[in-house]
Symmetry: C2
Subunit: 225 residues, 2 copies
């Protein structure tokens, strides 16, 4: 048999975790369109993955399908949501209310499922006190207090690169262990803290690399495809 207790082997592969939100989104769309039941094949297409991969991913959560039939949409939505921790709501603070921070504060996708923007913080006296997306922008001096008061557990860093590490250290000092970093710096954090990084410029550079291959590559081998 497996390792410890039973089927639900509390070790879901990272690659699987990264795809669960994708499945969830596809399932939400189906639920809205009144679909009651879906096969791994159809769901895989909707999520843009291979059906064998989808089945293996779902099998890590448990055995929630019915052979010969498929998966019940509502039930699967619930199971994935629970696994991802979206059945509770998460208070998110956005630090740095520049163009990007503002966009994030107004971004509907955040609020929609399980997340709630609970605080906006900035250093610029010009914006502190403004109301953005229905929230008062607080001063960076209040950072620790605000995080504790609002029960923030996830912090989004949208500050300039130079300020990111300091803000990062400060939020960690009051117990935050999950950070989404938009600043183009490598944050140094204890192992116990999770950092996910989004760098728009890096994505463009990766595209440029492939684009160059397509455009400039004809004098090279014709591997093409």
């Amino acid at each position: 048999m497996k390792s410890a207790s039973q089927s639900r082997d509390r070790g879901i592969p990272e690659a699987t975790v990264a795809r669960l939100p994708l499945y969830l989104r596809a399932l939400h769309g189906m639920a809205e369109r009144g679909v009651a039941t879906v096969s791994s094949e159809d769901l895989a297409v909707a999520a843009g993955v291979n059906s064998a991969k989808l089945r293996k991913d779902l099998s890590h959560l448990g055995s929630y399908g019915t052979r010969g039939v498929g998966y019940e949409v509502e039930y699967l939505v619930y199971q994935i949501s629970r696994e991802l921790g979206l059945t509770q709501d998460w208070a998110v603070a956005i630090v740095g209310v520049g163009n990007l921070g503002r966009a994030l504060a107004n971004y509907g996708g955040f609020v929609s499922r399980g997340f709630r923007v609970a605080a906006l913080v900035d250093a610029d006296p010009e914006v502190v006190g403004d109301t953005i997306a229905g929230l008062n922008v607080e001063h960076i001096d209040e950072l620790e207090a605000v995080i504790k008061r609002r029960g923030v557990s996830i912090v989004v860093l949208a500050t300039p690169a130079a300020a990111a590490q300091e803000v990062c250290d400060r939020v960690i000092s009051v117990g935050v262990t999950s950070i989404l970093n938009f600043a183009p710096v490598v944050l140094s954090v204890p192992d116990s803290v999770d950092v996910r990084k989004v760098d728009l410029s890096i994505e463009l550079q990766i595209l440029a690399f492939h684009e160059q291959r397509k455009a400039g590559g004809p004098l090279m081998a014709v591997d093409g495809q």
Copy 2:
């Protein structure tokens, strides 16, 4: 021996490509601080990776280091830039000038290295004609014309989810083969087109998953850490 010609095996692993921009950023920082030469160990730390991985990554580009010494910063910057295709400049169009599109248009990191926002396009008559980040916002009806006129080769999709696929089809029809998609949909495109996806909500969900493990897991095994 290897496959074809020689050392420079024109097949750089995808994982390596994704890290090159990281090295490049670290190197730029060093160049600014006047560092002339750097060891794989130091560069690895600055980029937040393991030094063996860094060396293997760089070895895919060629043999640009000196044993016993390290890498010459300027030279390595040039080599990586060239490999990524950043020695030419890329005209980027941003479609969808909502909060996010606006943030992207003003985002310094884009322009800084090799990329130039060459066009802004939106469907809302309210914003068409506005000047944002020094650029006139053009109407979506002009999409194909603008792309051809400005020589755009990379398109950033910051439209609502519902509009993304149509815009995507249209830009592909005029030859665009690189797309950075911020809309929360799975785009369907021919194999010859590269799509990279950034979904802010998905990143948060992944964080929530791990956060839940840390916080809610105490009744499970105490792997904690």
